[in-house]
């Protein structure tokens, strides 16, 4: 049977309904849909998809088992490589990773196999159907590893190390584990119950997660160095950047981090049932063109905004957000103003934002990022009315912890310098990975780093290789 050219569509909440709730937008495949989609996979011998996956999942392997309706075995294969598949199936940019390399996608007019959707299906199927999840017994190695940060990098490193037999303690500053998965990514894209489920799996591997424990404050770096055989730092790039234009401190101006933390971690969308409030603007301007800007814009809409405008200084072609997220945002009625740069926020006499003065841009020569540099057009200033502004222009290294780690080399942006292969820092016993090394990137890249670092931590602790020699 000749496979169909298009991916099996994923059922979704209709835009007019979903803008009024925080429930998940994409609803997931049924067994039938998953099997139909799995049949599109050619099981090609070269399987280039695997090399496109930062954690190297045996993609043809788990898809073959879906085709055979052996979902349990499919899940087992998946879990061997990926400790957090239900999360990855939802938030990975598969279109630039595994799916981009899929042979089926190279056939003219054909879409690649929906690997991400299948991954999500298997992970959810396992959670719904396999009650007793067996964990392969490991031989304790008698060594201890501390993992700083419980985001995607930290959880992945912790799970892999625990599977290898290390005793792992994870230290998390916030009151919930998951890092950006709980404070950053909204419920409608990644339900927090899914994160909880995956964290429980990691804990079932005997990983101990210590919440409310800011390393460098409530436990010192020296204590960690003394008590553990190795340390993995995966604290993310958690400090919001501000454009620092006039009016930044007006009421109603948020960093995306604050806005999303209030909404996601603190559940401000359920205020006053939950105690943390968030402003509910009518006319909202979101600044930035990445996934975080999409998350902020779509969350603001769900809080009841009449109008949400995303301003971005480049164009649709250059925007870093995932295509899928951008299209979801457009479907939901979010408007985009390309080639637009805010110059200042205008406030009223009470110190509350009422508008954003912007200037139009045009694209010049490519800059160091390879994208064409936006240049302001003279005499093109205009004002967008806004009672709330969310800046989503990126994040910086978190100064909070790094200031405590003496001897750790940082690059000019404040990120940790590591050996590109082993993830070893300049400080003996200390490894690092994820956004704190690369700057803000994706969940899966952080997980890839956590996985590779775990591999090298094991080699270091078993005496096979010493990155500091």
């Amino acid at each position: 049977m000749k496979p169909t050219l298009k991916k099996t569509p994923m059922p979704e909440q209709e835009p007019q309904h979903r803008v009024k709730n925080f429930f998940e937008v994409a609803l997931g495949y049924s067994e039938e849909q998953a099997v139909t989609e799995a049949k599109r996979c050619l099981q090609c011998p070269a399987h280039p998809c695997v090399s496109g996956c930062p954690v190297g999942i045996d993609i043809p392997g788990f898809i073959k088992k879906i085709k055979e309706r052996d979902f349990k075995e499919s899940a087992r294969i998946l879990k061997k490589y990926n400790n957090l598949p239900a999360i990855c199936g939802r938030v990975c940019p598969q279109e630039v990773q595994c799916e981009e390399r899929c042979v089926v996608g190279k056939i003219p007019g054909s879409e690649p196999v929906a690997i991400g959707r299948l991954e999500r299906f298997v992970a959810d199927w396992e959670a719904d159907n396999v009650k007793e999840r067996t964990v392969d017994p490991t031989v304790p190695k008698g060594k201890k590893v501390a993992v700083v940060g419980s985001g995607p990098a930290g959880l992945t490193a912790a799970a892999d190390l625990a599977k290898m037999g290390y005793s792992v303690d994870v230290f998390e500053t916030l009151h919930k584990p998951g890092g950006v998965l709980v404070y950053g990514i909204p419920e409608f894209r990644l339900p927090k119950s899914i994160v909880e489920r995956e964290v429980k799996y990691v804990e079932s591997l005997s990983v101990k997660i210590h919440l409310n424990t800011p390393v460098g404050k409530s436990i010192s770096v020296d204590e960690l160095l003394k008590d553990y055989d190795a340390i993995f730092i995966g604290v993310g790039a958690g400090t919001p950047k501000f454009m620092k234009i006039p009016g930044t401190n007006l009421n109603g101006v948020y960093s995306a981090n604050e806005f999303l933390t209030r909404v996601n971690l603190m559940k401000a969308y359920l205020f006053p049932e939950y105690d943390t409030p968030v402003k509910k603007g009518n006319n909202i301007v979101v600044v930035g063109g990445g996934n975080v800007a999409m998350d902020a814009a779509r969350s603001a809409l769900r809080l009841g905004a009449k109008s949400v405008v995303v301003v971005y200084r480049r164009t649709e072609q250059e925007m870093p957000a995932r295509r899928e997220e951008y299209l979801h945002a457009v479907e939901e009625g979010i408007r985009f103003r390309w080639l637009t740069q805010p110059l200042r926020y205008i406030g009223d006499e009470k110190g509350k934002v009422i508008g954003v003065e912007c200037i139009s841009m045009e694209l010049g020569e490519p800059d160091e990022s390879g994208r064409r540099r936006p240049i302001p057009i003279e005499d093109s200033r205009f004002v967008i009315e806004a009672d709330m502004v969310i800046e989503a222009i990126g994040t910086d290294a978190n100064r909070f912890l790094l200031s405590q780690f003496k001897g750790l080399s940082l690059n000019k942006y404040g990120y940790i310098v590591v050996d590109s292969e082993t993830y070893a820092t300049t400080l003996r016993k200390v490894f690092a990975g994820g956004d704190i090394v690369t700057g803000a990137a994706t969940v899966i890249e952080a997980m890839g780093a956590g996985k590779k670092a775990a591999f090298w931590i094991d080699r270091f602790l078993s005496g096979e290789y010493d990155p500091w020699r």
Binding site: T173, L174, H175, Y183, L211, N212, T213, P214, K217, S218, I219, S220, G238, T239, P240, F242, K244, T248, N249, N251, G252, S255, N257, E258, T261, R262, M266, K267, F271, P272, E273, Y274, D275, T276, P277, K279, K350, G351, N398, R399, F400
Partner: protein, 279 residues
Amino acid sequence: MKNRIIKKSRLAPQVYDFVIENEQIAAKARPGQFIVARAHEKGERIPLTIADLYKDSFRMVVRGVGKTTYELCMMNENDVLSDVTGPLGNPSEIAYFGNVMLVGGGVGIATLLPIAKELKKHGNKLHVILGGRSKEYVIMLDEFEKIADELIITTDDGSFGIKGVVTDGMDLVMNKSKIEVAWAVGPTIMMKFCSLKAKELGLKIWVSLNPIMVDGTGMCGACRVTVDGQLKFACVDGPEFDGTKVDWDELLVRLSQYRDEEELSLRKFKESVGDLSWL
């Protein structure tokens, strides 16, 4: 048990003194630092200052002003706070200076206490001014009496000490002694006027800011303040800053940001628990 309320006592109307079990904080906190607490699963994260440290517990003083702080004040001994994170922020920069002026108002008096004790340990002479609306709101008086070399009380209504405000006390101290450095901790409006007074007197003054925070670890920027024209995060860059350089009016406006939501929350809370004036 971690975060259990070991002891609770009433210091003034709506002002309660707590001892909370938490070894990490007891072991690591330094004067000037704070914690972030969450009372229950649906609760807000709020910053609170550390008033004292014991072997495996710490002391904090809470004044009921909104729903969250009322809820905290209504918790009892052996209740357990859902979450306590800390110590956060930078410790006070304490050394031997000579004559030091300490100005405290409201529950800021509790924040001032560990700073005062540490300054005393370093051999400083302490000129302390404590202010309140009326006599009953001047808390921890006996504790300051033990360490202060000079103690001035001001009350708005004159029910105790001098009738006036803490800046009147600052003038009195300055008239008699040469002060090297000052700390002022209290309501934002009080710290603003103390800073204006210090500027006028050419006095170096530290203030401990208490803006709205969410995480308290530099992650959200809710607590951003302008200090000397620079954007600072009170949680990781502070909480103490040179008071003469703080943009006070901006901070006061930012503190009022959620007034409507705070009123709604409190009104609904009072509907469910009834009158709170007994607290």
